[in-house]
């Protein structure tokens, strides 16, 4: 009975510790759990070891303190490390120190190779001395009820089956525990009470430790829901989680943007002020007077400019027509090469003059007349408007 109880506590301890060590890489967590499992295997009295270890939370804190920041898993999805191990990790040393302390206190005993068990053929095992007195007390009863114990041991789960594999004495203890459980309800009740008391004690210790270590555990930023995600790896690990450093990065970026925006806003404000300061206001009487004078003057100027414009147009058209006629005559009307060349040369000269006159016409229309009108408007704006301070 005692072995089963301690085995269950060991399993619970390791399971809870495994949940608390999710900040570690998988291989490191497995290493730590294996070391604790070996420690339990070496323990003469597992209850004493559990009392020595206090609680999974305390052990998680010890490991966390020893776990390197570089080794720490920043993302829950990360399964394995991406760097080479450099010597013995600190957390392994911390657990080894615990093992040594447990050895010094004689809570655990060094593991003896199985070959050396032949030296104790009489059944006396070094670990026996450290076994619980209760297990020895129920051994005699176990011998009497060996047959029903085998039947009862069959449906027991794998944990009990592992205990059966230990040695004959342990087998007897386990079988006796099973027998006692099935046969004597009173003893079962006693053991249940003991189990509840131990559980309550463990819970009290855990609660006491929890306050102490809550702040420390918060450093790992692994919330309870993330631990729950570890229990359901199919959904949790498939979803990409946002790394914490994204939030850390977000604030400086926003700050930087804010700093970058501030200088941009400042010149804009200055420009607005400048525009407001240079408001143009029309001088109405002068503007009316300018319009009255400028329109006839501009009309006269345009008419004056139109005469050479139209004249250049007529001359360009005449030159182009004459040049085309000469060109066509040079190609078809003359038989002598010399006459063709003279007429061709004359046609090119006439066409060149016609092109020049045509360009003069375009310049008169697009340059002279349009420039005259624009100049008159700009002059009016310059004379008839003044810049006044903005209201």
């Amino acid at each position: 009975m005692q072995s089963e109880v301690t085995e269950i506590n060991k399993q619970k301890f390791l399971a809870e510790l495994g949940k608390l060590l999710t900040f570690m890489y998988d291989e490191d967590r497995q290493t730590a759990l294996n070391m604790y499992s070996e420690m339990f295997d070496m323990a003469g009295d597992e209850q004493a070891l559990l009392q020595f270890l206090s609680s999974p939370t305390r052990q998680a804190v010890i490991i966390a303190r020893a776990y390197n920041a570089r080794e720490r898993k920043l993302q829950v999805n990360t399964e394995s490390k991406d760097y080479e191990d450099e010597g013995t990790p600190d957390f392994v040393r911390a657990i080894s120190a615990l093992e040594d302390e447990a050895l010094e206190r004689e809570i655990t005993f060094p593991k003896v190779p199985e070959e050396q068990f032949s030296l104790f053929e009489d059944g006396v095992h070094p670990v026996e001395d450290a076994l619980d007195a209760k297990a020895e007390a129920v051994t005699d009863e176990a011998e009497e009820s060996a047959a029903p114990a085998e039947q009862a041991a069959a449906p027991v789960d794998v944990q009990v089956a592992e205990v059966v594999e230990l040695d004959d004495e342990d087998d007897a203890a386990t079988v006796s525990a099973e027998t006692a459980e099935t046969a004597d309800n009173t003893e079962t009740a006693v053991v249940a009470v003991e189990t509840e008391e131990e559980k309550a004690a463990t819970d009290d210790a855990t609660l006491a430790d929890a306050d102490e270590v809550d702040a420390f555990l918060s450093d790992f930023s692994i919330a309870g829901d993330e631990l729950a995600q570890k229990d359901e790896p199919t959904e949790a690990e498939s979803e990409p989680e946002k790394p914490d450093n994204v939030k850390v990065e977000a604030a400086p970026v926003n700050k930087r943007e804010r700093i970058a925006d501030e200088p941009r806003k400042a010149p804009a404000k200055q420009e607005v002020q400048t525009v407001e300061l240079t408001e143009r206001k029309a001088i109405i009487p002068l503007l009316v007077l300018y319009v009255i004078i400028a329109i006839p003057v501009a009309a006269v100027c345009v008419v004056v400019l139109l005469i050479p414009t139209l004249l250049s147009l007529l001359m360009s058209v005449g030159a182009v027509v004459l040049g085309c006629m000469a060109l066509s005559s040079a190609v078809g009307a003359f038989t002598m090469f010399a006459d063709v060349m003279v007429v061709l040369g004359a046609a090119l000269v006439i066409l060149a003059i016609g092109l020049l006159l045509l360009w003069i016409f375009v310049w008169f229309v697009g340059g002279a007349i349009a420039g005259l009108i624009n100049g008159i408007i700009k002059l009016g704006g310059k004379w008839c408007y003044k810049e006044v301070p903005a209201v």
Binding site: M325, S329, A333, F334, M336, F337, A338, D339, V340, M341, V342, V343, L344, G345, A346, A347, L348, V349, I350, L351, A352, I353, L355, L356, W359, V362, W363, G366, G367
Partner: protein
């Protein structure tokens, strides 16, 4: 507009140069102005238009007081 002037002047100068060269080559190679005029007169009736302008149109404008 300045670029337009530049392009037009380049084209005009090139055409003028080419035309002068062609006229020079024609006269060098034995061109005759009387023969060229006779050919053009046959094709476009230049003498007829010239006599009409000088003998009828201008006296009419002079009689009307334009000139």
């Amino acid at each position: 507009m300045k670029r337009g002037w530049y392009i037009v002047l380049v084209v005009v100068l090139a055409a003028l140069l080419l035309g002068v060269v062609c006229v020079g080559v024609g006269f060098i190679t034995g061109a005759d102005t009387a023969r060229i005029y006779s050919v053009l007169d046959d094709k476009y009736s230049i003498t007829l238009y010239y006599e009409y302008i000088t003998q009828q149109l201008i006296p009419a404008f002079e009689a009307a007081g334009v000139f």
